[in-house]
Symmetry: D2
């Protein structure tokens, strides 16, 4: 079983919440920056013989959080930790799992190799968008699990909004997996948006089957980053007569004015989790991480 949760600087509040739910000790290491940017890290508690979960999310400055992760994991093993579990709520560097053009760094493989090299024994992530693999474990050589926060998104919407016969929409084919989960939680129908070719240079997006007229719609995706996909989807749904649209995602990266543009497009609300702390991180993933670590 897990003995200790330890929070890197990307996820300290989340770590405290997980520790409280698991009723086990929480370590927040001493982390300082020298004038040249070098990180100093010190783990002040005894970890000898313990199973330790490092909670560290790779958003905004993923390289900084990665190096911190390397230093912490390696040091835990050096201090005698029995097992090191990496919990990476938002896993950047999952895009490039192949060399699409000559000369590209296959960063997914290099980063996972280094994560293993520093002594990680097992990995958990949340709603990592896998592209050309089915399972995280096809990339990692250690046990690797991809959890989902989508049920939490659906539950939050159910609790905080009065939805009238809602439907769930995935903004593209790859989002069908999330739409399906949310729909089940809401006991609602779901569909995805797809592109219809109208002419040589004309395309429009539309639902595959569902009629959204007069419906309260929940759009679900793994990530909102520039917001482009959400904006397009919301506009289309409003044009087709949707009564209201709520946009939900696990990872609110929200670069530049993404949030403004989604509201401008007509969203009633935009919600996300604390895998990436943001102004729409209304939902904590602490319960699903705690539950996964408890089950082991």
């Amino acid at each position: 079983m897990i003995d200790i949760v330890l929070g890197g600087s990307s996820a300290q509040v989340l770590t405290i919440k997980i520790g409280r739910q698991l009723k086990i000790p929480t370590i927040l290491p001493e982390i300082k920056k020298f004038p040249d940017g070098e990180k100093y890290i010190r783990i002040t508690e005894d970890v000898n013989g313990k199973t330790v979960a490092i909670i560290q999310s790779f958003y905004h400055q993923p390289d900084e959080f990665l190096i911190e992760y390397f230093l912490i994991a390696d040091t835990l093993k050096d201090l005698g930790a029995k097992k090191v579990i990496g919990v990476i709520p938002y896993f950047a560097y999952a895009r490039q799992d192949e060399r699409f053009k000559p000369g590209e760094a296959i960063s997914f493989k290099i980063v996972t190799k280094l994560i293993e090299e520093v002594g990680t024994d097992e990995i958990y992530t949340i709603d990592t968008h896998l592209h050309r693999v089915e399972q995280l474990s096809e990339i990692f050589h250690i046990p690797a699990h991809n959890l989902t926060a989508v049920p939490l998104l659906a539950q939050y919407v159910k609790k905080n909004f009065e939805l009238n016969n809602p439907v769930v929409i995935g903004p593209d084919e790859e989002a069908e997996q999330w739409a399906k989960i949310a729909a089940k939680e809401l006991e609602a129908e779901y569909d995805i948006l797809e592109k219809e070719r109208l002419g040589p240079s004309e395309v429009r997006i539309k639902t595959r089957e569902l009629d959204v007229t007069g419906k309260d719609v929940l759009i679900v995706d793994d990530i909102i980053s520039t917001g482009g996909t959400m904006v397009e989807a919301i506009k289309m749904l409003k044009e087709h007569g949707a009564k209201s649209v709520i946009a939900a995602c696990t990872h609110p990266i929200l670069v530049r004015n993404a949030l403004t543009r989604i509201y401008q497009a007509g969203a009633l609300a935009v919600i996300g989790t604390d895998t990436v702390p943001s102004s729409i991180s209304f939902i904590s993933v602490a319960p699903i991480i705690a539950e996964a670590l408890r089950r082991g």
Copy 2:
């Protein structure tokens, strides 16, 4: 011999200068950032069978430049490069070579291990401040060389300032090595500053032997970061009658108002190299890197 120099995003102008001096091809890889901060790297030239030197300096955002280094080095090997030489003009993460307090990350060892892990075959740095080891090669398991830019600092001062019977000062005992080199270049005497205990709680710094009265003084150190050491040294030298004081360093990290404070203390000029691009990087280390790579 070396076939190609390749510049990471910390050192691209420096890389072009080195390439011109060596008259060999320069590669500047395609480097982009995704909205979540993930780096995309692509090496667009053929490196198969080649010996490639990666020029990457670890200042200001060392973690970002480190991850870039890992991605580039690993990819070069993956693309068939015969030999990968890491040239790290400013090497952050050289401080922590031991565990001084329980639980500290020995970051120097972890970072060097990862640098080796990604396929680096040989390492060059410049004026790395080694603490508890004599040679860089005691930490690395690959050939590792610590070059010096101090002769360039002295030459620049000789060319650009009219010094009258100058002396060279190292601001503390650890700087004696640099003071000695600069003094030889200037055919001048050198000394270091040391602390003299005047009473139970009173300390003053002074030169060990040299009288600086009426002298043009060159202070030399490996790095200026907060500027505290330089400020104290300049004040002391001016109090002891130095006619003028020039402050020189290899690595101008210069955090916050370091430069202002050094000028306020009375420096005539403050100079540094381009291992860390800054407003006082008047000197390029390209010649010493080119020379070292040429000799191999």
Copy 3:
């Protein structure tokens, strides 16, 4: 009556929410940055003869948001706007209302003078911490109103947490005004913390009268910035037997690891509003701004 709400780049989502509540047009000007940092601003809708409320909050980069405000307000007047109302949810530069030491800039007066100079006709702020004045209107020469978001904080807590006979605490004397408002909303008792001198160099903080043993406590303050005040208050309340402590503020500035430290001190939850978008901005001040603008 008010015709248009216009959002500066600090508060665009909030502006959209206010516009929806007031059912009036929302303008989001075109705002770009040139390579040298200069802002370009263009108001693309007709404002001639209109009463326009500019929503702009002065957090994190207050100088940038101030200059934007100046450019927008002046341009609105130049384009023929009848009346310009400045709505500044978080008003930085309210600290320095006097010259405490010789030579200090009395920045509150200078900033308000410039806000008036660019054509502002009326000002609204939220929970501005006034120090040596009773009313905002003692500083401004135009009508100036200081709204409060504290009732929203209390309502949120009532809705989202099961509190058992709660009490409200202001962490210091200046917070009594906020504690009183929250207590009224919760129909609860309130008190403040004060310092008790135990000996020549020993001080402890304690409630003035209330016994918090076994109570669910809500601490209310106008701002959380470094978190120091909250951390001390929570520790003291837990030591005195409080069953749970929720920390609430209007303005979640939250520098560095403030939030982590407050959770570490034992907070059950930490909540704030969107005057400063943050990871604890669970509550929008849109309703109170909309209501104030509607009343006029």
Copy 4:
């Protein structure tokens, strides 16, 4: 005559250099930032009855440096300063001197109005690029002078490079004014680049008259920001047989990889001044500011 030079946080080293050349007192005010970003400013020396020159340059974060300027100037007058002279080596916000599209902020006029409003009595800038006005004084209502640093650029090149029968090139028509000045200093010929239309959609740039074949060329412009103009000019000059090309500017804004691209295009060297501290700020404008303030 001028009594004191005072440096804002954008230009403190420059201010010290000016003060030394003028042999007058230098004030560096106490400048701090509160956690919410608000600036605290305190002028610790007596300025009553004095003529004070504020040195503050508007680069990178011009809004922050503007607000600092407003606070300092207003406070100087409040403290009894007789005359406040604003010296703005790089003056951002000089672009928008008209409303080109409906609704645009005419930021040049708004910013100058506020600079005057806070008590500025006279203004100096360096190589401000004026567009639709001939003189800075057409915009300001106070005496306003636009100095030039171009002679310093030419002198630096003459001293540090062995040029063989050099020519000076302005990269476009607006740069003719700077090319002319540099040419006079170097006793060389000058020309500008212009666009030649080759067909309906084909354009090439070329010199108006001069043949650059075999020549050492100095390109001079007021500013390098993205570097696009310089890159195009250098490529063209190299194609036409220029032996070497040095790129010089007064204001090295140098966004993103501008410098790398200019070197890649074939520049032998790239140089600029300290109006914008940068890695190519080899030349200080202190002498020309000191001289202008001395003349009064």
